[in-house]
Amino acid sequence: MSAAGPSRGALRVAAPSPFAYFASATLKAFNTNKTSWIGLAVFLIVVAAAILAPVLAPFDPNDQNILEKLRAPTFEHWLGTDSFGRDTLSRLLYGARISLIIGVVSTFAAMVIGTAIGMLAGWHGGRLDTVTMQAMDVLLAFPSLILGLILVAMLGPSMVNIIIAIALTSIPPFARIARAPTIAVKEREFVDAGRALGYSDTRLLIVHILPNILPEVLVMGSLWLANAIRTEASLAFVGLGVKPPTATWGGMIREGFENILDSYWLALVPGVAILIVIFALNLLGDGLRDAIDPKLKGEA
């Protein structure tokens, strides 16, 4: 770790214009692994569909029409209707909003809190470091889905509580990923230089260390966004999602599962939707991780 030469792209000292450096490094990372582009494109399509749901959805997602219930896909209802006669396609589009909002907000919160914890632990070292990381290891060891389930059940299934539960269970990986590079970077000359100039710890951490560890944290973020979306769907599937009649993908699978014998598409369609989003995010994050991982860099 100590002999980090200029070839370690991820940890390179920030160039004169940090933004331009960041943009070109991002582009390079994307081009190293073309699958990242596919992942990004699919994810952006889903985001666009979610934002445009009111325009794209052919029906109101909560409009019940008992006469039309459990219809197989038709020209009018492309993906059929559920047991209340609600349009599956419209619910799918609106459900994407819930998945994305919960996923993005909880991952962002975990990213900010976890990175801060990891940086502080790495920066200060000593006992603070040991105790904090031990706590993170304990949290990491406990099955996060079960912790999430219990937290949501205790706090009550509302959007805010689901976000809190998912964010809490996602903090440890960010703390871990932020800590190691902080330790490596804090020994570098530019940090000493900053300290000699009398910069405060806060300034050194935010202005000089954060940009160096940001790529890894952001890549981790895309992978954990996938995980957060999966957790939200899992919670909704066992009945701990945002309350009905709000459409959520996990909730749709739960309702569809009750009619699985005769209307299999009700559970299958939202299931495949979740799979596509998670797969896209994993393609994106995995490709980028390969590109910025200094260990793999020389070999590729």
Binding site: A141, F142, L145, I146, L151, V238, G239, Y264, L275, I278
Partner: protein, 312 residues
């Protein structure tokens, strides 16, 4: 080795203690009075007080904490609010089902994942490698209940090869029928994780000097791979498999629900829906115990696989 063991044991104890404290706090940060929540709005003052007393909620917080800790360690986890049976009995009754499912899924994961990962690593950047990487990435993108539902749709509903509801009766055939789909569903996801870690661990090891030396002195290629390289790649694989077991136990909750299979998962969801606090506490204790035990076993296996670990 002894220091290593003592340190790991100490960490296991810290983990256990910390998680038990977390469980205690978690159950008590619930907004509102648990007794009120359990009995509902119509309950009389007396009934609520009686229940508070029965749950030990009338004691001072510190006293509640010591009672809870000592009870948890002694196996006295209280009585289920719903069934009136001791929590530990209910948990132990379904535990074998969950253990059976997770162990079998892990075995499937290892049997598929290790060879796939080794094969991909040897054929790095060739078509097979890409295929393995993409399919393992797809595998770990599956929410466990989605893979379970798809298997159920294909092999129990479209093709009537397996029962829709998994329940076991005495014979081996019945056991196989009841566990095959749930274990495959979880096993394929496990295989995806194992494949990825095996592949990257093997890539690292294959570039080591001793692999080159072994090849240079004429050791057959497959002996180099399986004996020299894989043996050294085992440590990261074991680490990930050990950590993955925690995820697997979480995932098994969803699989058990889809296949209506008895186990910790069904017990947990039931307890959550009924707000069965003693049961929830007990379940978290058992999950903690499992996780701590698995971590300890993982650590022990390091020493077993790699004699150098003893030096630390």
């Amino acid at each position: 080795m002894t220091t290593f063991l003592v340190r790991r044991l100490a960490f296991a104890c810290v983990t256990l203690f910390a998680t038990l404290t977390l469980v205690f706090v978690l159950v008590r940060i619930v907004p509102g009075d648990p007794a009120q929540l359990i009995l509902g709005d119509q309950a009389s003052r007396e009934a609520i007080d009686a229940l508070r007393q029965r749950l030990g909620l009338d004691l001072p917080l510190f006293k509640q904490y010591t009672v809870f800790l000592l009870g948890a360690l002694r196996g006295d986890w209280g009585v289920s609010m719903v069934s009136g049976q001791p929590v530990i009995g209910e948990v132990l009754r379904v535990l074998p089902w969950t253990i059976e499912l997770t162990v079998l899924s892990l075995v499937i994961g290892i049997l598929l994942g290790v060879p796939a990962g080794v094969y991909a690593a040897i054929h790095r950047n060739r078509f097979v490698d890409y295929a393995v990487r993409i399919s393992s990435l797809l595998g770990l993108s599956f929410p466990p209940f989605v893979s379970a539902i798809i298997l159920l749709l294909v092999f129990a509903i479209a093709l009537p090869w397996f029962p829709v509801i998994s329940a076991r009766s005495g014979s081996v055939a019945a056991w196989y029928q009841s566990i095959a789909l749930p274990a495959i569903s979880l096993g394929l996801i496990s295989a995806a994780y194992v494949t990825r870690v095996t592949r990257s661990a093997m890539l690292e090891v294959l570039s080591e000097d001793y692999v080159r030396t072994a090849r240079a002195k004429g050791v057959p290629w497959n002996v180099v791979i399986w004996r020299h390289a894989l043996r050294n790649a085992l440590i990261p694989i074991i680490t990930v498999v050990g950590l993955y077991l925690g995820i697997l136990i979480g995932n098994s909750v969803l699989t058990e629900i889809v296949f209506s299979r008895p186990g910790l998962g069904k017990l947990l969801i039931g307890a959550l829906n009924q707000r069965d606090y003693p049961m929830l506490q007990g379940m978290m204790v058992i999950y903690t115990l499992i996780v701590v035990l698995v971590n300890l076993l993982t650590d022990l296996s390091y020493g077993f696989v790699d004699p150098r670990v003893k030096l630390k």
